[in-house]
């Protein structure tokens, strides 16, 4: 048995196909959708917990890749050290999922961890290194 947390990136064209459902039906895998949303660039993103026999798991992954879904493993969490963030906003356009946004009025930067896919793009570009990866 394997159980992994993975991030699936769906290109726009796969938007309405029941790909994930097939993982259960054709590959006997159990899945649990942790997060799912559409990025500002119109890409679909889903964080899945995927469980099953090792053989089935590998076939399932192959199937997803065959459909054009990009897969990234998710073995860590990203948090923000609030005491270090100066709310500059330089991270906002770097984040691919819109997990970092700036409030139009207060100009403070919010971190929406439910949208974070732990891609780590913000980690080293944050000038105060307020964004941290935890394994």
């Amino acid at each position: 048995m394997v159980s992994r947390r993975i991030v699936l990136h769906f290109p726009t064209r796969l938007g309405d196909q029941p790909i994930v459902y097939k993982l259960a039906k054709d590959f006997n895998l159990q899945f649990n959708i942790l997060k799912a949303f559409i990025t500002p660039q119109e890409e679909g993103l889903m964080i899945l917990e995927l469980k099953g026999k090792s053989d089935d798991y590998n076939k399932g992954i192959e199937y997803l890749q065959g459909c054009g879904v990009q897969i990234q493993s998710l073995s860590q969490d990203v948090i923000r050290d609030e005491s270090k963030c100066t709310h500059c906003g330089i991270c906002v356009p770097i984040c691919p999922t819109g997990a970092l946004t700036v409030d139009a009025h207060t100009r403070k930067v919010s971190f929406h961890s439910n949208k974070c896919i732990a891609c780590e793009a913000c980690i080293k570009i944050c000038p105060t290194r307020a964004m941290e990866v935890h394994f």
Partner: protein, 399 residues
């Protein structure tokens, strides 16, 4: 017409009317320039962003036996400092790096720790390792010193920044097909993002575009404590193109500032690491603008919509010193988070923290209202656009 002396009387009496540089905008919109000039005594500005030409000097006191660190070597937490002064005076620059930092050998370099971080730790009251080597003289025989130091034990600890507080700044973009790492942050290939670095309508010199009230000797909020304008900053360039409202359309004036580091706070002096570029110091500065007449309040009420800046390519134009702008945008456009460059929508991020700038303007306002902060008359002006003062490029003369 009001004088600084009259305003200071009001501050002492607790009758002063102080507003921040964003509040004055609404006030002027509501009541008009004339009424606002009568009602308001002080407009407080603020800015918080990385300012590389920052640093601090220290007198560490004399050890027993004495050591002449002057012309020797000296490191704070492995970060080298400048020793070309007398025995116990040392200057630490914000961008200095430990000798063993890999720099950009591993590209893009991370620049985790440098002079700016040492300054922040000192200000936070942390002990710092000082290691010094000297050649030894008859009067200063000692050759080596290794000790912990703490800011409270130093004789002087003075922040002295030779260029801060830029009056306007470029918007940086990348036209090339690879990501680049600049002091304006990471710029994705093919106009993937844009970054700017100014507090716009809160920024001190944008609210006094001809330096009528801000000059040498002006008392300011510096790093959470009190400081003064020491001189015009390096690269001061008042003669750039300006809009009708007098506001420069490109980087223009700058300030050199000085203040007692011992009174400052680590929230307002923050070590920053610019990926692939280096270390810098995030500095908080707030400047009070005395409302001497209607002109002052009119200039101070300029809005983001009326402050324009140039979009600059940092892949070629900037590094190669090729003049040229990809277009002009105002700060209201930048703050929407999207601008259009060469027909492409480009997401925008800011390096300067507007929310922190606002906190600074508020803090300075509260100091003034409480009577804790009196204004100063500048003792001399800094060069304005009529002065003919220019920022020149280097003309190399090979030898």
């Amino acid at each position: 017409m009001k004088t600084i002396k009259e305003i200071n009387e009001k501050i002492k009496n607790g009758q002063v009317v102080a507003v921040t540089a964003d509040e004055v905008i609404d006030l002027v919109a509501k009541k008009g320039v004339k009424k606002a000039a009568q009602e308001v005594d002080v407009v407080t500005t603020g800015t918080f962003g990385p300012m590389c030409s920052s640093g601090a000097y220290f007198n560490i006191g004399h050890s027993k036996p004495r050591i002449k660190i002057g012309a020797g070597t000296c490191k704070f937490n492995d970060v080298p400092a400048y020793t070309g002064f007398a025995a116990a005076d040392i200057y630490l620059g914000a961008t200095a790096l430990p000798d063993d930092d890999p720099r950009n050998k591993v590209y893009p370099g991370e620049f985790k720790y440098g002079g700016a971080h040492v300054i922040q730790e000192l200000v936070a009251g942390k002990d710092v390792r000082l290691e010094a080597q000297a050649y030894g003289t008859d009067c200063y025989p000692r050759k080596k010193l290794e000790t912990l130091i703490n800011i409270k034990d130093l004789n002087e600890a003075v922040l002295f920044n030779i260029r801060n507080c830029y009056q306007n700044y470029n918007v940086a973009v990348n036209l090339s097909d690879r990501p680049i790492y600049t002091y304006m942050g990471m710029l994705k290939a093919n106009l993937g993002n844009a970054s700017y670095c100014s507090a716009g309508q809160l920024s001190p010199l944008l609210k006094d575009p001809d330096y009528r009230t801000i000059g040498i000797g002006t008392k300011i909020f510096l790093g959470g404590g009190i400081g003064y304008v020491a001189w015009q900053g390096t690269q001061h360039n008042p003669g750039v193109a300006r809009k009708e409202n007098g506001v420069p359309q490109a980087p223009a004036g700058t300030l050199a500032v000085i203040g007692d580091l011992k009174q400052m706070k680590p929230e307002w002096l923050v070590g920053v690491s610019m990926l692939g570029y280096g270390v810098s110091l995030g500095v908080g500065i707030g400047v009070p603008i005395p409302v001497l007449d209607e002109e002052v309040v009119k200039a101070a009420a300029v809005r983001d919509e009326e402050i324009y800046t140039q979009i600059t390519d940092y892949s070629e134009s900037y590094p190669q010193m090729i003049p040229g702008s990809l277009g002009e945008v105002n700060y209201a456009q930048l703050k929407t988070g999207k601008i259009v460059v060469r027909d492409k929508q480009v997401p925008v991020g800011s390096l300067s923290s507007y929310s922190r700038a606002r906190e600074i303007a508020e803090e300075l306002k509260s100091w003034i209202k409480k009577g804790d902060f009196l204004l100063t008359d500048p003792v001399a002006q800094i060069p304005n656009r009529e002065s003919g003062y220019v920022f020149k490029a280097l003309k190399e003369r090979p030898f």
